[in-house]
């Protein structure tokens, strides 16, 4: 990371909000499509509200939060998979989403064929995939299984293959969503090392439930609760606050159930 570009904002959001449309009845979406200009047939369900975020080139940001707090939706919005419902979003640079590793895998096809498709989906040209193929195979380290159908792979092998593809995309912004939970310690270390080296030229957005990973990889942490940013700043400070809140909540539930 050179200091001259470090001030450049690559992801910028202002009052970003995302609402899903909840329909009371299954047929209501049809009414919404036909008469939506006249009346609203859904209840908005806000998963993200008023997110103000500036990510600078070379930043690596850890995102913390309970299940269902909106972390993954935030990442999806930043990657451009789904549009925000209001607010402003600006993303500059090639984004590589590592949201669900192996989502594009076809169980019937061999690892080799899945690399061709996975690479294309990540935006690589066929020639690029072919050129990088040996390097991908080496990173995955699954040996002769490369020619076997993916349905015979273990969960860890799938993760290895999928991460190996992601590691060869040459993105400017890497968005990782709890992707490393599977995989053995050695492979996790390999991935973390790779992310570490990626961080030197790229920007990282990283969702994790492991405080150690966030502390090691990130220079800033963001804690999201109920779709809002509750606090952000120095990773160790945010992690401590987050863990204290988690402990309090557990306590609260406990006390509540006892009093009943």
């Amino acid at each position: 990371m050179s200091s001259s570009t470090s001030s450049e904002v690559v992801v910028r959001t202002r009052h970003l909000g995302k609402a899903y449309q909840l329909y009371a009845r299954r047929g209501d979406w049809l009414k919404q499509v036909m008469f939506g200009w006249y009346k609203t047939y859904f209840k908005p369900f806000w998963v993200l509200r008023d997110i103000d975020l500036d990510v600078y080139r070379g930043d690596s940001i850890g995102i913390l939060g309970r299940n269902g707090c909106g972390k993954s939706t935030l990442l999806q919005v930043i990657c451009g998979m789904t549009l925000p419902s209001n607010g402003e979003l600006r993303v500059t640079g090639r984004v590589a989403p590592v949201l669900a590793l192996g989502a594009t895998f076809d169980a019937e096809l061999s690892g080799r064929e899945n690399i061709m498709i996975g690479g294309a989906v990540m935006g690589l040209k066929r020639s690029e995939v072919l050129r990088k193929f040996d390097s991908i195979a080496e990173f995955a380290g699954i040996g002769d299984y490369m020619e076997q159908p993916v349905k015979h792979y273990s969960m860890g092998m799938r993760t290895r293959l999928a991460f190996a593809i992601c590691a060869h995309v040459e993105a400017e912004i890497l968005v990782v969503d709890e992707a490393l939970a599977v995989g053995d310690a050695a492979f996790q270390r390999k991935c973390l090392d790779w992310i570490d080296s990626f961080r030197r030229n790229g920007t990282l957005l990283f969702v994790s439930h492991s405080p150690a990973e966030v502390r090691r990889l990130c220079n800033r942490a963001i804690w999201i609760e109920d779709g809002r940013i509750r606090s952000q700043g120095e990773p160790s400070v945010v992690i401590r606050a987050y863990h204290r809140a988690l402990a309090m909540e557990k306590d609260d539930i406990h006390r509540f159930s006892v009093s009943e």
Binding site: Y20, Q21, W29, L30, V33, Q76, C79, G80, M81, T82, L83, P84, S85, N86, G87, E88, L89, R90, V91, T92, G93, R94, V95, P97, L99, A100, A103, T104, D106, E108, L109, E113, M116, I117, G119, A120, V121, M122, G123, L124, K125, R126
Partner: protein, 292 residues
Amino acid sequence: MPSVKVVNGKQIVVEALDPSQRLKRFLAKPFLQMWYNQDIVLAILRRELRVRFTGSAGGWFWAVVAPLFAIGVYTFAFTTNLQMPFAEAAASKRVAYALFIFSGLIVFNFFSEMAFRSPMLLHEYAHFIKQTIFPSDMLAVISTLRAATYTGIGTIVMLICVVLVTGRLPWTVVLVPLIFVPLSAFLMGLAWFMCAVGAFTRDAGYLMINVVPLFMFMTPVFFSHTSMSFPYDVLIYLNALTAYVEAIRDVVLVGKFPNPLVILWMLATSIFTFYFGYWFFDRYRNVIVDVI
């Protein structure tokens, strides 16, 4: 460097465009998208064809022998029933009738394959659409290309049969690819429309299962529009497939140039359907991601 700017849920296009530029952009957009995403289209198409041809034990059997078998059954059913006009015809006539059905089925099977699949298309690729940055409009293109491949195989088999039976091939067969271009565009537009509707509701799929067999008899597969009485022989052209069936027959079996009016109608319906389908899909694509 790619840059996305979204304000209040709407993507902002920075430059202001006058209407003629906007029209130009609208007309060029599907093709630019195809060009831009060609690697992904080809990678998935290759995968789908490989699954079809090497993943099943039958492989080529399903593409070549099964249609021939179907045509045999149809020919038998329609020519041995004494109520039917072809029943008393000589054997050579029956073979001619088999070819007649074959040419109609090639067009119709192209349509029915697309019609059955399109409503489920986005569901089939839901994990691509939700978890990767995926050009969902390319799915209709991929499925059209896939169906066109089978249609191409069927056409080659048909041409071989024509040579075997009649011993000659009219020069007009060179026009066959030119008929398949508007047909593919027509079906691609239909696929865009139906896969967008199908993303919202499964009813579209059920509707197709019921409607497609009816269409088989509303398209001149087993008969010719010339054998129909006055208002109907024109009305059947409201089904756009009629034009393609008749054009293919003129070109392959009769060996004459299709009626210019038919060609005009073919082009008009296909261009309209192509752009309408893309416009509709593009309009709802951002909603589709959230409902699928």
